[in-house]
């Protein structure tokens, strides 16, 4: 038995050492190679990559705002940081890092029913786990991890996060990163068009917003005030929207509600996402509202 236990102990030590080395290697590559997701891209940005503006949100930003179109019309440089499935928590992580890196002075955030999402930790939080050892990011993770020690385990157990989320952070993505295969969305500045059409134009969409102020949004607003950042909130178009966004209007600075601005179903992929025709239409509205009518403070632009 002693011999067996000794063998198991040796194997365990080898596994632990292997895990530490793999963890260090993976993290190094994520920090230094081609970006394979939006958090990697953000963490690789430097002050010289400054932008006139940046848009944040979920797939309702990703598929709805064509940054290249805006650049053609206004020459203003921007980036669409929409991540499918993002809640306010992930938006906050992105915004914090963008501000920390002094990338832009003008931030636009898409907000709708995600107002109600106080706690996240969903699919798109995973992409941030690579950077969990950064103090400011770890502080944020602690805020959403009050009831369990999941993220503590990811921080403290070497390689656990890369093992658990192998398909998003692991070997395959690493090989892509090392071979220089950049995300397709980088060339289109984060925008991904959809090409379908709404199938059932009878469907409506509604939601009820909580009265309570979303704590992550509060943090974003405070940070932007402190850093003197122009912050704008908006709601992307929704087909046949039956709810109301009064709570957002009353709570958020510089809020603009576009929810009912495009009534025709031909512009939609589904109730909450525009197709390519719709994104073209909406991008122009967005541009006229914000980027043509206002003078941006471009203090960080070289």
């Amino acid at each position: 038995m002693n011999k067996f236990l000794k063998n198991i102990a040796i194997l365990s030590i080898i596994i632990i050492v292997m895990s530490i080395l793999l963890d260090k290697t993976y993290t190094y590559i994520h920090y230094n190679s081609t970006a394979r997701n939006i958090p990697d891209y953000i963490m690789n940005l430097k002050e010289k990559d400054s932008l006139d503006y940046a848009v944040f949100g979920s797939s309702r930003v990703l598929h709805n705002i064509d940054i290249n179109l805006i650049e053609q019309e206004t020459t203003k440089k921007g980036f669409n940081f929409g991540i499918p499935g993002s809640s306010v928590f992930e938006i906050k992580l992105s915004v914090q890092q963008i501000i920390k890196r002094k990338i832009t002075k003008n931030i636009y955030i898409q907000i709708d029913y995600i107002w109600n999402e106080f706690y996240s930790g969903g699919e798109c939080t995973v992409d941030w786990l690579t950077y969990i050892n950064e103090n400011d990011i770890w502080n944020e993770f602690q805020k959403i991890d009050n009831n369990n020690d999941k993220y503590y385990l990811y921080k403290k157990t070497p390689f656990l996060r890369y093992c658990k989320y192998g398909s998003k952070l692991g070997f395959r993505e690493l090989i892509m990163s090392l071979s220089g295969r950049e995300m397709n969305v980088i060339n289109s500045k984060g925008f991904v068009p959809l090409f379908g059409e709404l199938k059932n134009n009878e469907d409506s969409m509604t939601y009820i917003l909580k009265d309570e102020f979303n704590p992550h949004l509060k943090d974003i607003i405070e940070l932007c005030e402190k850093e003197n950042i122009n912050l704008y909130f908006f709601t992307s178009p929704i087909y046949n929207f039956k709810g109301n966004n009064k709570v957002l209007k009353n709570s958020l600075p510089n809020y603009k509600d576009f929810s009912n601005i495009i009534p025709s179903s031909k512009y939609y992929q589904d109730n909450t996402h525009l197709n390519n025709k719709g994104s073209n239409y909406f991008t122009k509205l967005f541009m006229n509202e914000y980027l043509k009518a206002r003078t941006h403070n471009t203090a960080y632009k070289k």
Partner: protein, 477 residues
């Protein structure tokens, strides 16, 4: 509890320590620990179904004792049939009730009679097909006087519920496993290390190969309409490796875990994809089930020692029942029938035992002839798996029809995070298995630094799929 979960990684060392350090002085307490830990293992999934295992255990235990006391052949038959009906009754209700009901309704509506009957919302208890067959083997062997019935209820309960093989086999015979609960187990370092290596090898097959292949197979089978011929063939090949690595991986973990506790379970897979004909394939695939059907169904029906038409009948019965054992769906019946059709010519020509040796024995590479036979068998097996994997018969036929609209185009799959690494992985598996085919499993032998084992652990850490934690396919059967 899944073998590839953190829960099991914590559970196993605890039970191991209790088993060898606390209860090691007393055989009964060791057996009791096995029963309790097995019930925890099973109850982790759904504690309500523990009652089924307990009931099955009590009934077969009592029937076994009564069979030994009873001299009247009629009464012995009644006892045997009571056990068969109770066990198959549970299985039939939980697994096949809705299938038969739906088919009766369809059949009657075909003749113009509408029957109003609703399907029940039944959850299939994990592993019911496995432990039912295991307890049945006990009663049948006691009835045939091949085995003395046990009077030790704890040992019998441990035999029925032994956690390493409870939910997905190997389906052990009472004649092999039950006596191991009567004798004191002593710890053997060499055997335990082999157990560890077998667990590592099983995990590699499950989390590296099977779960990666699953990404491709699921995508291609679920949306086969949008893919062309070559992609559909790739989907079928991926499923072929998925099901093998998933199921044989489970068996390896089960056998390896048993070794840690001093038990020897039967071999369940013997490199089936290196078979040279279908008969050889069935001697190498899911051995515990094939031999179960051979001993308790095929031979009692007369086996091959009857008239030709009866041999044909017997072959069809055994393959169709085997298919139906896998699930209440016509696809499994079609899969069984297809295998019967594959198998029958060699059976009728007395060529079914042509290949009893190891392929390319004492050689590194197979001859061209062997390669040809292997490839032919593999293609037949892949084709049959399409029925096994498809949602229903219509889908299977549509899938096959699309394959025969030949096209060399390979579409980009709609799998966001995966790419072509599946082919090197499958090749790696084939190479390791080919050079390990003379052994029970490729990692059976290792040097004193456990170099091969460490390398496989490295592969598991780097290439394993832990995010899309998949149940073992055979849990559903």
């Amino acid at each position: 509890m899944l073998f590839n979960s953190i829960d099991f990684a914590i559970f196993l060392p605890i039970i191991f320590i209790l088993y060898w350090f606390i209860t090691n002085k007393n055989l009964k307490s060791q057996n009791l620990l096995i029963v309790l830990s097995s019930y925890i293992f099973y109850g982790w999934w759904d504690w309500r179904f523990l009652s089924l295992i307990l009931l099955s255990t009590v009934i077969d235990y009592l029937i076994g004792i009564n069979l030994s006391k009873q001299e009247s052949q009629t009464k012995r038959k009644i006892l045997l049939w009571t056990s068969i009906l109770v066990n198959l009754g549970f299985l039939g209700f939980f697994k096949y009730y809705n299938f038969f009901l739906d088919n009766f309704i369809t059949a009657f509506s075909f003749f113009g009679t509408n029957i109003n009957a609703n399907s029940l919302n039944i959850i299939l208890p994990v592993g019911i097909s496995f432990y039912t067959f295991q307890t049945l083997s006990y009663t049948i062997d006691v009835y045939k006087r091949k085995l003395e019935p046990t009077k030790d209820f704890i040992a019998f309960s441990a035999f029925v519920s032994f956690f390493p093989q409870l939910v997905a086999g190997p389906i052990e015979r009472a004649t092999n496993l039950l006596p191991q609960f009567y004798t004191k187990r002593s710890f053997d370092n060499k055997n335990a290390m082999i157990g560890i290596r077998q667990i590592v090898w099983g995990l590699f097959k499950k989390v590296v190969i099977a779960d990666t292949c699953a990404q491709y197979a699921n995508e291609i089978f679920n949306t086969y309409e949008i893919y062309s011929s070559t992609t559909l063939i790739i989907g079928a090949v991926c499923f072929t490796f998925q099901i093998y690595c998933d199921f044989s991986g489970y068996s390896d973990i089960a056998i390896g875990t048993s070794r840690l506790f001093g038990f020897k379970l039967m071999k369940n897979f013997n490199y089936p994809y290196f078979s040279r004909d279908i008969a050889e394939f069935w001697r190498r695939w899911h051995i515990s089930l094939s031999t179960w059907f051979r001993d308790y169904l095929y031979i009692p029906l007369g086996g091959s020692k009857v008239e030709k038409y009866k041999v044909i009948r017997n072959v069809f019965i055994i393959f169709i029942v085997s298919g139906f054992w896998h699930g209440a769906n016509w696809t499994f019946i079609a899969w069984g029938t297809l295998n019967a059709l594959y198998f029958l010519p060699s059976m009728l020509n007395n060529k079914n035992r042509r290949h009893l040796n190891i392929i390319a024995e004492n050689k590194n590479t197979p001859s061209l002839k062997e390669l040809f036979f292997m490839a032919k068998t593999f293609i037949l097996v892949v084709f049959a798996w399409i029925f096994f994997r498809a949602e229903n018969i219509q889908t299977a036929i549509a899938y096959i029809k699309k394959i025969f609209v030949f096209s060399l185009e390979i579409e980009r799959l709609r799998i966001e995070r995966y790419s072509i690494e599946i082919f090197p992985l499958i090749l790696l598996l084939i190479i390791i298995e080919w050079f390990g085919r003379h052994q029970e499993f490729p990692l059976l032998k290792d040097n004193k630094y456990q170099f091969k084992t460490i390398l496989i652990i490295f592969f598991i850490l780097v290439l394993g799929n832990f995010s899309d934690m998949n149940d073992f396919i055979y849990f559903q059967f």
